[in-house]
């Protein structure tokens, strides 16, 4: 008997309020950056920290090298091998995530590796001996970070939060999530980088009010305006450019160096050397006014190239100013002006460039904050969010994020009809009705687009599908409801449904610009992660969660209305609960579900009696009100 009461007591044995040490989940935050990536976790004291590698380095260069012998080198090892394998070394892969070849070629710099169009026009990377998708390359980076974290935390990870630029579109987000799955990780959430940064700042310093987060990383620029109130981080607006960052500064310097050494058509190896020199010059110029970098080519005398800060600033002036437009737009969308802000936070390594700091100061009319390491702050915030999502955090903080770009469908005249406006808080769902324009039309093409412009050709195409089986009617009589749903990760699902007839036809589409589900499944099988065992594990976990809920519900019902049962009935209900509890201690999900269904079915009579009582209670309550 006491066992029965114990298992039925919610908040005690089954759902503890206190987090016991053994309940602590191994969760981490990952900043998957253009130039380098980091992983962070929250310690027992609730403080986030980046996890270093064996040699004490926290930043893992986002570089992957695929030598012909089949090895996969990541990070500093890939950089070390890059001179030997210039055409097999992939850098800045983030710039190609979820993008078509056309997009990338339009903005891309010279690379040692080749690019081609793969499935659906998406980019594939071509090395000297094989082809690899950006998603796979990112997965290789994630795996290295995950195993670093597993070693530090002493076991396999229960979940990760991966950050993405706020301005990433749906395809880029989908690709990032796919990379996580491919690395065998449970992606708890994608979080926007500026929001993660704000999280790290807000919690550290207990700040309140309006903040702008200016995030200029290696390959992306983001601006977000947030309101912090009592632990709630409400994103009011966001904007940016997903192809603008410190890489572009490097690129300009690299072109300058190539010109100075008179190399019009550099080999991949020479290009690698000049890129490294350019990066070095950029970093030095953040501290000194003039620098000289040594460029040692494989043959011939080394060059010494002198660059002044003045020249560098002249080169990057347009790029830095290009960040102003998204900032002003974001302030307008949030309905605020510069002086309403309590502070401007700098994030991303490129904000170390003095000219960038100066420009931010002019733009917002105040000195920006940079007390946390701009390279680490995103990962730290992601770790806090991961902790929060694992249900074991202590604080009460909540992130309310928005969708960065408008979503709509194509209508007549190649125009885009917007269904969800940019900066709408997520999750969100909106529907719009459309109709047929021909008599007897039985199908309708639906083209899903993302972007702010009015013409279809100026927006990003996310998916196309056809709603079939519309009953033939006169033009304009059918009512087709198109529903857009954006989840908490910012990912979109679209469905369409014919409304007028009883026939409910609906097609759900997940934009598959990143990778098709089939392709992901294939790669998962090849990589031999997940598989049958993991799938069963998942089913078992779900069955246990449900069993726990049903037991807790039944326990609460018995405490509240147990007097509605006679002794025999009570015994029977408790017996069924015990059976479910026993089943839930075993590893058979079907057995758990069977026991749960039996308990459900056999307690219907109890539920009916409780319902009668509730109705009577409400009726009595009303009478009392009326008499008063």
């Amino acid at each position: 008997m006491s066992v029965l009461l114990d298992i039925a007591e919610p908040g005690q044995s089954l759902r503890p309020h206190e987090v016991r040490p053994e309940d602590r989940k191994r969760v981490v935050g990952i900043d998957l950056g253009t130039t380098f990536s980091l992983v962070a976790a929250v310690d027992v004291q609730g403080k986030p920290a980046c996890i270093p590698d064996d040699e004490g380095r926290v930043a893992l260069p986002s570089v992957v090298c695929y030598p012909q012998d089949g090895r996969i080198l990541v990070g500093d090892r890939a950089i070390a091998a890059s001179e030997q394998y210039p055409t097999d070394t992939i850098v800045s892969v983030k710039r190609t995530m979820g993008r078509s070849l056309d997009d990338v070629v339009a903005s891309e710099h010279r690379t040692g590796f080749g690019l081609e169009a793969g499935e659906g026009g998406m980019v594939r990377i071509v090395t000297s001996h094989h082809r690899v998708s950006p998603v796979e390359v990112s997965a290789h980076i994630l795996k290295v970070l995950a195993s670093r974290a597993e070693e530090a935390l002493g076991g396999s990870l229960d979940g990760v939060v991966i950050t993405v630029p706020a301005y990433f579109d749906d395809a880029q987000r989908q690709a990032t999530k796919d990379a996580g799955r491919l690395a065998g990780l449970e992606v708890l959430r994608l979080v926007n980088e500026p929001t993660a940064a704000a999280l790290a700042y807000g919690l550290d310093q207990g700040r309140e009010g309006l903040y702008a987060i200016y995030d200029l990383g290696g390959g992306t620029f983001d601006i977000s305006i947030l309101r912090l109130t009592q632990g709630v981080f409400q994103v009011l607006s966001t904007g940016g450019d997903s192809a603008l960052g410190g890489d572009d500064f490097d690129h300009l310097l690299c072109e300058y160096i190539l010109k100075e050494i008179d190399e019009a058509d550099p080999s991949p190896a020479v290009l690698q050397i000049c890129k490294a020199a350019a990066r070095q010059a950029k970093e030095m110029l953040s501290r000194v006014d003039v620098c000289e970098v040594r460029v040692a080519l494989p043959h011939g005398e080394p060059f010494g190239i002198r660059v002044t800060r003045e020249l560098f600033e002249e080169m990057i002036d347009d790029l830095v100013r290009a960040t102003g437009t998204p900032c002003r737009r974001a302030m307008k969308d949030a309905g605020i002006r510069g002086h309403d802000l309590q502070g401007v936070v700098l994030v991303g390594g490129s904000t170390r460039v003095p000219m960038v700091r100066q420009y931010v100061k002019e733009l917002f009319g105040r000195e920006p904050l940079s007390d946390l390491d701009p390279d680490q702050v995103v990962a730290l915030g992601a770790a806090l969010q991961a902790q929060q999502l694992s249900g074991t955090a202590r604080g009460d903080m909540l992130l309310l994020d928005v969708t960065p770009l408008s979503l709509g469908i194509e209508t007549m005249g190649e125009l885009v009809e917007k269904i969800i406006a940019r900066n709408a808080p997520i999750p969100t769902a909106r529907s719009q009705d459309f109709t047929t324009f021909k008599d007897g039309q039985t199908a309708m093409a639906i083209h899903v687009l993302q972007g702010e412009r009015e013409l279809v050709s100026d927006c990003r195409s996310l998916a196309r599908f056809e709603l079939r089986g519309i009953p033939p009617m006169t033009a304009g009589a059918a009512r087709i409801r198109v529903t857009f749903q954006v989840d908490a990760d910012g990912l979109l699902t679209v469905s369409a449904q014919e409304q007028t007839t009883g026939v409910q036809q609906s097609v759900a589409v997940k934009p598959s610009y990143g990778l098709g589900d089939a392709e992901i499944e294939r790669m998962l099988r090849e990589a031999m992660v997940h598989g049958e065992a993991d799938w069963r594990q998942r089913l078992l976990h779900e069955a246990k969660v449900e069993a726990e809920r049903v037991l807790s519900a039944a326990g609460a019902a018995l405490r509240e209305d147990g007097d509605l049962l006679d002794e025999n009935e009570l015994k029977r209900v408790k017996g069924l609960m015990l059976a479910l509890w026993e089943a839930s201690q075993k590893e058979d999900h079907e057995g758990i579900n069977r026991a749960r269904e039996t308990l459900d079915r056999e307690t219907v009579f109890f539920a009916e009696r409780r319902m009668d009582r509730s109705v009577r209670k409400v009726m009595t309550g009303r009478k009392v009100d009326e008499f008063q």
Partner: protein, 212 residues
């Protein structure tokens, strides 16, 4: 009178629209029959305290947000999503005077659909709008005062919008407080004017972005 629903989880009684079951404390689905005002616990009407709206919005998010249900079962996660989707939609609708006005016209049964005509049917108003358009067209975007001229035009338009909001607010007040049905007709007329002005502002802002 409050209707009683059955908790989907423990099958106890729940007052329809309550977020959580009083017996087993499990999340309940949102009640589709509640309008946005009711959902936020606000009195229906045009005049509302935006500070209160913000506070309720935040509090509800802290109860229902999907982040708080990550480790729960599929049904609980779905209900959390439905609540927050509902919450975001209500917040968006009520926060902005134009969408709030349009929504109120629906809630009061004054009109089901917001008219979608590209041009207003009232000739006098059509003329007014055309004058604004002409002024906008006349701004020489290549001229050196363009940004300033656009800003001045914007400021003037904003004042006009503010005046519309006051007038339509009075119309709604006449109905909700005074019980005068004709108040709604006034509100509808000025909501429509506000909609055209808002569209004009969007156009103006698109031009202003050239100078960002």
């Amino acid at each position: 009178m409050n209707r009683v629903d059955v908790c989907w989880s423990c099958r106890g009684g729940v007052v329809a629209g309550e977020g959580f079951c009083p017996t087993c404390r499990v999340i309940q689905p949102p009640d589709p029959r509640r309008d946005h005002f009711h959902y936020f616990g606000l009195n229906p009407g045009f005049d509302l305290d935006l500070g209160v709206l913000d506070t309720v919005y935040r509090q509800r998010q802290q109860q229902f947000h999907p982040d708080l249900f990550v480790s729960r079962g599929a049904t609980e996660r779905r209900y959390s999503m439905e609540h927050v989707t509902r919450l975001n939609e209500g917040y968006r609708t009520l926060k902005d005077p134009l969408t709030r006005g349009e929504y109120l016209l629906k809630v009061t049964g004054f009109r089901e659909q917001t008219p979608e005509n590209a041009t207003p049917s009232d000739p006098a108003f059509l003329l007014e709008i055309m004058e604004w358009r002409e002024t906008l067209e006349e701004v020489d975007l290549k001229g050196k005062n363009a940004a300033m001229q656009l800003q001045q035009l914007r400021d003037r338009m904003m004042e006009t919008c503010d005046a519309e909001v006051v007038t339509l607010g009075k119309g709604f007040h006449d109905w909700f407080v005074g019980g005068k049905r004709e108040g709604l007709a006034v509100a509808a007329q000025h909501t429509d004017r506000l909609r055209y002005f808002t569209r004009f502002l969007d156009e103006l802002d698109r031009k202003s972005e050239l100078f960002f």
